[in-house]
């Protein structure tokens, strides 16, 4: 039973990550490879705020959100000078640089040794202890994110992003500023990614940089490419599918030494197959270009 609750929590975390990346990829049409970096910054920021400044969970999440937003804001300026291949490379560069900082700035992050003993959240005097309580907490955050994002997805701002995605020059000729709209999306996406980061850190109570690598960014991208993007159901479907898949594989009884490789092979095949036959993913609106 606890196993199923654990899966549910991971699904919720990945739905949050997918819905935020969706703003940049699905609505904005920009392929960002640094989403895992924002996820990681959120995790580390919340952890460090809680451990070093003794703030409780909710204020830590808030500080972490603001901090990640500022980083995303600063990174936007160089990144948004580019589109297409160079944009992907620049975001990849950010991912690698941020990972290097998390891994090598040992005095701050303890690098590869990781940070153990992260306290479970205490919300308004209520201490979360069991996994079922954690699931409720994650669900509450997920609902909040839904309530926040759904109006944005169905707004003039959402239409503006899509127009810029379809044809940036034409959209600008109709009065839309690509830089301003993309900047907003990028900052929002990065900031929102910090929330699942905060949840993850306090859930597994131990973090190290290996959870926030380029492979993680590729995994999150795969969720959107397979599930679909540009709408609400694509990212949700993708997150559920991609989290459940390795668990389903587990039941095939693969020896644990090769299981990660088999998983990766399946991810790679999924990418190729979807690009061939269904570039909009299962339920998405945006076709990768």
């Amino acid at each position: 039973m606890n196993y199923l609750v654990h899966i549910a929590i991971m699904i919720e975390i990945y739905i949050m990550l997918a819905l935020s990346l969706n703003l940049v990829l699905g609505f904005g049409g920009l392929m960002s490879l640094c989403h895992a970096a924002f996820y990681g910054i959120g995790a580390y920021a919340t952890t460090l705020f809680m451990l070093h400044f003794h703030v409780s969970f909710l204020p830590a999440v808030a500080f972490s959100l603001a901090f990640t937003a500022v980083i995303a804001f600063l990174l936007s300026f160089p990144a948004l000078r580019f589109r297409g291949d160079p944009f992907v490379l620049v975001t990849l560069g950010f991912q690698i640089i941020i990972y290097a900082i998390l891994y090598n700035w040992i005095s701050l992050t303890r690098g590869p040794y990781g940070i153990p003993g992260i306290p479970r959240p205490e919300i308004f005097g209520f201490q979360i202890t069991s996994i079922k309580e954690y699931f409720v907490l994650a669900s509450v955050f997920l609902v909040i994110i839904f309530i926040f994002l759904i109006p944005i997805y169905n707004s003039p701002y959402g239409l503006t992003l899509k127009a810029l995605r379809e044809d940036e020059i034409a959209a600008e000729s109709l009065g839309k500023s690509a830089f301003r709209s993309f900047l907003t999306a990028f900052v929002l996406a990065g900031a929102l990614a910090s929330i699942p980061g905060s949840l993850y850190a306090t859930y597994v109570t131990y973090i190290d940089p290996t959870s926030f690598t380029i492979d993680e960014s590729i995994f999150q991208l795969t969720i959107l490419l397979v599930g679909g993007s540009g709408n609400l159901k694509g990212p949700v479907a993708g997150a559920i599918f991609m989290v459940v898949l390795p668990e389903a594989l587990r039941f095939l009884g693969l020896p644990s030494s090769i299981a990660p490789n088999v998983r990766q092979i399946i991810y790679g095949l999924l990418l190729i197959v979807f690009m061939f036959f269904r570039p909009q993913g299962f339920l998405g609106e945006y076709k990768v270009r």
């Binding site: 944005i152 003039p156 127009a163 044809d167 000729s173 109709l174 009065g175 839309k176 929002l188």
Partner: protein, 255 residues
């Protein structure tokens, strides 16, 4: 009256020594349709690029309604209600026909992230969708409103692009070869629409780049003839097109 016009003074643009636009001075008056004609490569599209901010001029000024708009980026030019039809149309292919028009109807404030949370949002969007439907009816595309815009024919896409410009509230419409690739009936529809636009609002300015002389004679009041980056001839449509020199130059070059 002069103050409401679009004026370009001494506009020049060169690329690596090649002068695409050379000391061009022209004025486009409201309530009129002006035409920009000339052989391919004469610099007409470049001139449009300079006005809309795609390119920055090396020299010269662009003044609209008394404001100097030289060198502003394209989105700011569009905010001043100067709109453009591209040669390759450029509608938003994966959005519906209706969405294409609707997204031009919102003000800057309404397009901001924060507006997504205003209680008024739903109402504003509903009104916008209704207005968009009216505009589609105006250009005759109402029946296609839920189709994916990429599925429209080339002519229909052009009409959609014009509907977008009307949605923008464009007071200046710069149309690059609006009738190219259209069937005769589509062309008629388009030209009637253009004439209606300036008739109903005598503050609107329409400038067309055209290769079809019968179209020019049909709708244009004033014609500029551009060749090798310079304006070599201008005047009333029938005068310019009747002039022996223009006919020789134009027909000679395209022969």
């Amino acid at each position: 009256m002069m103050n409401d016009g679009l004026m370009i003074k001494g506009l020049s643009k060169s690329f690596n020594g090649f002068f695409a636009v050379k000391e061009v001075t022209a004025i486009f008056l409201p309530g009129r349709i002006s035409a920009l004609i000339g052989p391919n490569g004469a610099g007409k599209t470049t001139l449009f690029h300079l006005i809309t901010g795609e390119l920055k001029p090396d020299k010269g000024k662009i003044i609209y309604k008394g404001d100097d708009i030289t060198g502003l980026p394209p989105w700011k030019i569009a905010k001043k209600k100067i709109g453009r039809l591209f040669q390759d149309v450029r509608i938003f292919k994966n959005m519906t026909v209706l969405e294409n028009v609707v997204c031009s109807l919102f003000s800057s404030k309404e397009e901001s992230l924060f507006f997504s949370f205003y209680p008024k949002k739903r109402r504003v969007m509903d009104i916008a969708f209704e207005k968009a439907k009216d505009l589609l009816s105006l250009v005759g595309l109402r029946k296609e409103e839920n189709r994916r815009a990429g599925e429209l024919s080339f002519g229909q896409q052009k009409l959609l692009a014009i509907a977008r410009l009307l949605a923008l509230g464009a007071q200046v419409l710069l149309l690059d070869e609006p009738t190219a690739g259209l069937s005769v009936s589509m062309r008629e529809r388009l030209l009637e629409l253009l004439k209606r636009i300036v008739a109903e609002d005598n503050k609107k300015i329409i400038v067309v780049v055209e290769h079809n002389m019968s179209v020019v004679l049909n709708i244009a009041h004033w014609v500029y003839f551009m060749n090798e980056g310079k304006i070599s001839f201008f005047g009333r449509a029938d005068h310019v097109l009747g002039a022996k020199e223009v006919r020789e130059l134009y027909l000679g070059l395209s022969a």
